[in-house]
Every structure is written in C-alpha cells, then in structure tokens.
Symmetry: C2
Subunit: 170 residues, 2 copies
C-alpha cells in the first residue's frame, strides 16, 4: 500500500539505510503509553504493571528459581524478593524449595495467580484497544506473536563471548 517511495532515484540495488531505524525507542515509547494507562486499570486488582510482567513470565516458564527469574526479568535479585513477596502475599505465586537443591526456591504460578492474571488481561482489553488503535486486529496478533517470541528467547547474560566485537563501525 504505502510504499514509502522515498528517494526513488533510479533505485540501483540497495534500500541501504532505510533500515537503520531501531525499534528500541519505539518500544520504549509504546510501552510507556501502555503502562501509564494500565496502571489505573490494574489498580483495582491490586496489581502493578511490573507484577503483570512477572506473572506473565511465570506463566510461560513454569517453575523457575528466583535467580533465573531475576535473570529474565533483568532486575536485581534483592528486588525479586520484594516482588515475589507481593505476589505471594496474595497467593498468586508459590515458593517451594527445590528437591535437588534445597537452597533454591522454585517459583510458580498458583491457580489463583493464573486466574488473576487472566482477569488482569481481560481488564486490559480496553487499554490495548486505545493504545494499539492504529493497528488492525490481525496486526495486533502479529505484534503479540513477535513480542512473545522475542521475549521468550534466552538473553545472553553478558557472558564473555569475545569472539568478535559486535559493535563495529556500522
């Protein structure tokens, strides 16, 4: 439909930079819009956006250690404790000691947690409609799918891996 026909001189072979744009800032921007509006909708459920993120992650990863959770959530371990305390206080989440290593806590969603998460998602329908209004339903599904896949990918924890510098000149 809308080919951004920008600078179509003779169009030799390359849509060169055209693709130098990064989605980081847009992600930030959109996430903020969503989060701001979500807060008010989530409040009556006693949840904050960050709790939703945690619950969502937990729904997908089943039972994981707090450390691992801290890893995927990318927040400091000590803060995970507080986060889980909130959730456990409402029995949305469960900490059980791992049988093979009893130092570890295996965190998992309780059925109440799954239920609450659902309610929250349901409550967010309006917000999403508002924020993603410019997108067709099918596009929203695509977006969801992309986000889900992108987030489910294991992120490198900053391992040495100095094979080749990725931050080249560009």
């Amino acid at each position: 439909m809308f080919h951004a026909v920008r600078k179509l001189g003779h169009m030799p072979a390359l849509p060169v930079e055209e693709s130098e744009h990064r989605s980081g800032p847009l992600l930030d921007h959109l996430a903020r819009r969503m989060r701001l509006r979500s807060e008010s909708v989530l409040a009556p459920l006693g949840l904050r956006p960050r709790h939703l993120v945690a619950l969502t992650v937990l729904r997908e990863s089943g039972g994981i250690s707090q450390q691992a959770l801290a890893g995927t959530l990318q927040i400091d371990g000590t803060n995970v404790v507080g986060l889980l305390n909130d959730l456990e206080a409402e029995s949305l989440v469960e900490r059980r000691r791992s049988p093979e290593d009893r130092r570890r806590h295996v965190v998992s969603l309780t059925t109440a947690g799954a239920k609450r998460l659902r309610e929250a998602e349901c409550a967010l329908a309006g917000v999403e409609d508002e924020v993603l209004g410019a997108l067709q339903p099918a596009e929203r599904d695509t977006l969801y799918d992309l986000l889900r896949r992108a987030t489910s990918g294991r992120q490198v924890i900053c391992a040495g891996e100095s094979g080749d510098e990725p931050d080249v000149a560009c």
Copy 2:
C-alpha cells in the same frame, strides 16, 4: 499459521480464550531489556534512552509545540522543559518561537540532531541484535513497522467519549 480460531460457531469444547493475552506486559518486558542494554551503548554519545525517544518522535513529527510533545511523550510539561534543555544544550534540537502564537515554542530537530540520532541508532545495532535475536531480520522489520504505526497514531487524551463503555465484562 496459527489462526487464533476465535470463537467461531458455538465452539463446544475449547481453548476458549486462547486470545485473551495482552501485549502490554511483553512490551514492558522487552522494552526494559532493550533499555538496560541501550544505556551503556548510548552513554558515550551523551544520550539517555529517553532522549532517543524524544529525538525519534521529533524526527517524525517535524516541528511541534512543547505541549504537543508532552502529549505524545506522555510526560509532564515541566519535565519536557528539562529534557529539551539537555538536547538544546548540545544543539540537537531547536526552539523557535511560533510566528502565529509567540507564546509557543516550535521544537524541531537540528541537522546535528538528526545526525546524532543516526549515530545512536547505528550504535544500537548490536543491542538490537542481542535483544531481538530470536527474530528473523524480516520479522524485525515487521516489528519495527508495527511499532512505528502504533506510536504514530494519535492517542486519545482521555476525551470524554462515553459512547459505549469499553471496559465491559469480558
């Protein structure tokens, strides 16, 4: 691929809501991952993630008033001042008084600003590769496109619009 076989017919036995998931939390999650890693990469350029968001918005909206900027950025007007001060201090952005209403400041990207933004985007290539590693290049383009369109949509500023309550039972 996965048709979210949304409730067709009477749908007797099934993965009922399947499509009740919201992208909000995922957006939050992914944005956080991206932002954290971006910070370190952006630092040498004297920029913070939030500056990037502003610059990106400005690149698309051309010259707009600070108020409008506050609106799209969804941050308080007084904070926009500080944000712009940062950017103007490095002449990445320009405030000119509007000719038709001299109270207003028309904010726009300077050429230096556009250049810096590009450098930043370029510097972010590695981060994006890392964070969106689970996505194919084509998918990343799709993601970018969706995000761009979603963010460019005018967001309702909370106008009355009480036609029908969108927060129905669900």
